[in-house]
């Protein structure tokens, strides 16, 4: 308990609101924010996006990134104390203290960028930092001479940070409105291509002129001034109403009588289904293609989620099943492969599933007795073995070695699908429907498995293998089941990958695939089925859509992962179980407090029996 007490004390100190500690935090925030701004300049992000406008004629993306950095600095510097569970609310800092903290942090951040400007002017830095161009210095100096520019830089940053710190003084509802408006404008600008496309597509689909012609909202990639104001006001107003009166949807839902809620839910479900069905029509070829890729990763993610999320077996070689699924499909269906009479995609499908499931058991069997790190390392090896095998000379007659297998047919040949309305399945739009259908199936299967005798056995196994065995659970059978089912679901991902690209190559079967699939599970929330979908959209969809950032893809990727793991360690969309796991400490802490009569804020969970609680 001594450790817990020490941690608690450390946390209280962290959220101390005395002027001294606020200043200390302001200086820290300023240094971090300034450092981040300098870093963004040095890696070339700021000058690179100088041409990309956010608000037409007013603001470019490079400048926006700098502004956001400073705003975040000021906001964080003046952040008031968090209320910990079971702790009395600390006194709010005086308005002046918060504003001063923001001002100081902004000035420090501005000072650092000013130093960069002066240094860049004084000494030739380009030899080392290629991004420090005259253009960058010009941006930093606001087009003035360096000394005036440096001064402006400090004043500008201090002013912005002051504004950002002032946000804390607003009422919570207004603050939420302001932040939501800001984020909405930013998102609308970043995703201009896809939003524009969807609006236009919808406009054509339902024949609405103002949607079809988006000139009022977008000017090229940038938002128009009118569009910016409109979005900011609308999003802000919605957020304000939500903050003051609660969520509109929730209120409406509560107004519906208990008996009819299922109906309402069904209608909502039908609307989502309808949206998913018309999506490729309004979104066009490119987005359908991206959606197909996301779908493939959702399938892979759901498969691995069974192994890692449900059964807790850390498998780093999941790419093996992806590769087996893709190669088996290719070998069975491609006329260029060894098969005499190539099968159609649909005829090959059951064969591929059986093969992959069998391989799942084959790979699972030798690692049954391994746990944790050891399991991870061995499965990592298996993933590599499969890649080495497909590239090897030995299997060249079948796998094509480094050349891979080409001309894999689309899923349409031979069978027309009456459900999807039309025999032709050759465009990404139509492949999207097939992938969507299998994703829905995989989601359904995952939910059913999770909520079953087998699902409970997996969780038990994850929690304590020995005790699970003492409960009569056969470890061998249960683990193999997880590997086999994980492989089977994942094999669909491989199959559609092969069908979508039309060819398979050994260099698509790299370790990075395993890592990406694992990362999307962790990001979404381990063991959470909606989490897998969210994770796939964020980690696979965003990079495809934000192609303009392709040079900085890995940088953003890493930053996003780190940020999410710090801010939401349970993932974006955690399963209820996982959320509880990560807050276990807080529950215990609250119990401890209640027993010792320090505070009585938090409710205590106990099933009775213990003397000192009663």
């Amino acid at each position: 308990m001594a450790v817990a007490t020490a941690t608690r004390r450390a946390r209280i100190e962290e959220f101390d609101t005395t002027p001294e500690s606020m200043m200390r935090r302001a200086i820290k925030a300023g240094l971090i924010g300034g450092g981040a701004a300098v870093y963004l300049c040095l890696v070339g992000i700021v000058p690179r996006f100088d041409e990309r406008e956010v608000i037409s004629g007013l603001l470019n993306l490079g400048r926006t990134i700098l502004i956001l950095t400073v705003l975040a600095t000021g906001y964080l510097a003046a952040r008031p104390a968090k209320v910990l569970p079971g702790q009395p609310e600390p006194p709010a800092p005086k308005a002046g203290v918060g504003l001063t903290a923001g001002l100081v942090s902004g000035a420090i951040a501005g000072f650092l960028t000013a130093v960069l400007l002066l240094l860049g002017d004084a000494i030739p830095m380009r030899n080392v930092f290629v991004a420090v161009t005259d253009r960058l210095l010009d941006i930093l100096a606001f087009g003035q001479n360096v000394w005036l520019g440096a001064l402006l830089q400090i004043l500008f940053a201090a002013g912005l940070a002051l504004v950002a710190s002032g946000v804390h003084l607003l009422r919570p509802a207004l603050r939420s409105a302001f932040l939501t408006g800001l984020v909405t404008v930013l998102m609308a600008s970043l995703f201009s291509t896809i939003i524009d496309q969807i609006l236009t597509g919808t406009g054509e689909y339902v024949r609405l002129q103002f949607l079809d012609d988006t000139g009022w909202l977008y000017d090229g990639d940038a938002l128009t001034v009118f569009g910016t104001i409109l979005l900011f006001v609308v999003a802000g107003a919605l957020a304000y109403s939500r903050a003051t009166r609660g969520s509109l949807i929730k209120r409406r839902m509560e107004a519906v009588p208990e008996a009819q809620r299922t109906t309402v839910k069904l209608i909502a479900f039908a609307l989502i289904a309808a949206f998913l069905l018309v999506l490729p029509h309004i979104a066009g070829r490119f987005i359908s293609d991206v959606l197909g890729t996301i779908g493939i990763y959702i399938l892979l993610g759901l498969g691995l989620n069974i192994v890692v999320g449900f059964a807790g077996l850390l498998d780093l070689g999941y790419v093996a099943f992806f590769a087996i699924g893709a190669y088996a499909t290719a070998m069975l269906t491609s006329p260029s492969a060894f098969t005499e009479g190539p099968l159609t995609f649909w005829a090959a499908l059951p064969v591929v599933v059986v093969i992959t499931t069998f391989c799942g058991i084959l790979i699972g069997a030798p690692v049954l007795r391994l746990r944790g790190d050891y399991l991870a390392i061995v499965t990592l090896g298996f993933g590599e073995i499969v890649r080495v095998l497909v590239i090897s000379e030995w299997l060249r007659p079948w796998t094509g070695g480094a050349q891979g297998i080409l001309s894999i047919p689309d899923p349409n040949i031979g069978i027309s699908l009456p459900l999807i309305g039309g025999p032709e399945l050759d465009t990404p739009q139509e492949l999207y429907y097939v992938i969507l259908a299998f994703c829905v199936l995989a989601v359904f299967v995952s939910y059913r498995l999770q909520d079953s005798r087998l699902g409970r056995a997996w969780v038990a196994l994850r929690e304590d293998e020995q005790v699970a065995e003492a409960m009569g659970i056969s470890i061998i059978k249960t683990k193999l089941m997880a590997f086999a089912l994980g492989a089977a679901v994942g094999s669909f991902g491989g199959m559609f990958f092969a069908a979508k690209i039309g060819s398979v190559f050994p260099n698509s079967m790299v370790l990075l695939v395993s890592i990406l699939v694992l990362a999307l599970i962790v990001l979404g929330g381990m063991g959470s089925i909606p989490g897998v979908i969210v994770g796939a959209i964020v980690l696979v969809g965003l990079p495809e859509i934000l192609r303009e950032f392709v040079e900085y893809r890995l940088l953003v990727y890493g930053a996003v992962l780190v940020a999410i793991m710090i801010l939401r360690p349970e993932g974006l969309f955690p399963s209820a179980r996982r959320r509880r796991e990560l807050h276990e400490e807080e529950i215990e802490e609250a119990q401890f407090e209640a027993r010792h009569g320090e505070t009585t804020g938090a409710p205590v969970v106990t099933a009775g029996g213990s003397e000192d609680v009663r």
């Binding site: 079953s452 409970r456 056995a457 969970v605 213990s610």
Partner: protein, 276 residues
């Protein structure tokens, strides 16, 4: 009629003779306590019976079948359930889920059942939930229905111990092995536990073997007591016989006492402090 029979069971870890040629018979409907100082081999004995350790030599017979060397899950299926010395619940499962897992070996639904959910699986799931609620109801007001969906990690220490027993009961055993069930409980909770163990036999017809340090529990529940020291069985009989046995007292206290009046209390006192 003997339900569990250990004949010449030994378990050596290298040179350490954790259990050394132990014979023990547990009859149907009996409550037997196994006592002994720390390191006497009591838990290892449980591990050998439940399949967590294979015996170096000897034979374990349960209900007329040789269960020597079976896997733990097979032993559970055969009808032996156990709890653990350090409470080992599935902390991140709810109270009721913990008990539902206990039903695993008595149910059969597999992958097909999970995905398709035919009527058979549905009724089996209903049966599992019903049985789990029954098991929890056995503990009276300790686990009222509104706590069934709480996380096991949020329970008080004594409740965790009780939940572990409920989970073991859910495997529908004939024989229940309890490893220091009273450890960490206060006197009132210990009293409740003693009554509970008696009810397990009287109401459910279970045969119970208890490893215990707390002499109040041992005295309260045991039909028979067996004492272990250095892996060997040094005494067996009813509570009075064993607690008065010279060798047992020597094992606990290390030397012979001339004054015999204080012995029983001395043994009880000594072991109570050990149990903490």
């Amino acid at each position: 009629m003997s339900l569990l029979q250990l004949s010449g069971v030994s378990k050596y870890f290298g040179g350490v003779k954790a259990v050394d040629v132990v014979d023990l018979v547990v009859n149907q409907g009996e409550i037997v306590s196994v006592i002994g100082p720390n390191g006497a081999g009591k838990t290892t004995l449980f591990n050998v019976v439940t399949g967590f350790n294979d015996p170096t030599s000897g034979k374990v017979t349960f209900d007329g079948f040789d269960i020597t060397g079976l896997q733990p899950n097979q032993v559970t299926r055969a009808g032996i359930a156990r709890t653990f010395q350090a409470v080992r619940l599935f902390k991140n499962m709810s109270v009721i889920e913990n008990v539902m897992v206990g039903q695993h070996s008595r149910t059969r639904a597999g992958v097909f059942g999970a995905i398709v959910r035919p009527p058979g699986t549905r009724s089996e799931e209903k049966k599992i939930t019903k049985r789990a609620r029954e098991m929890l109801a056995f503990f009276g007001d300790q686990f009222p229905p509104r706590f069934h969906d709480e996380l096991a990690a949020g329970l008080s220490y004594a409740d965790r111990r009780r939940l572990e027993i409920a989970r073991a009961m859910a495997t529908e055993p004939k024989l229940l092995l309890l490893d220091e069930p009273a450890a960490g409980m206060n006197p009132r909770e210990t009293e409740g536990l003693t009554a509970l163990i008696a009810r397990l036999r009287d109401e459910l017809g279970l045969t119970v073997v208890v490893v215990e340090h707390d002499m109040r529990v041992v005295k309260g529940v045991s039909d028979r007591v067996a004492a272990l020291d250095y892996g060997k069985k040094i005494a067996e009989g009813n509570y009075e016989e064993v607690s008065g046995n010279e060798q047992v007292i020597e094992a606990y206290l290390g030397k012979k006492h001339e004054d015999t009046r204080g012995r029983e209390q001395a043994v009880a006192g000594q072991t109570e402090t050990e149990g903490r």
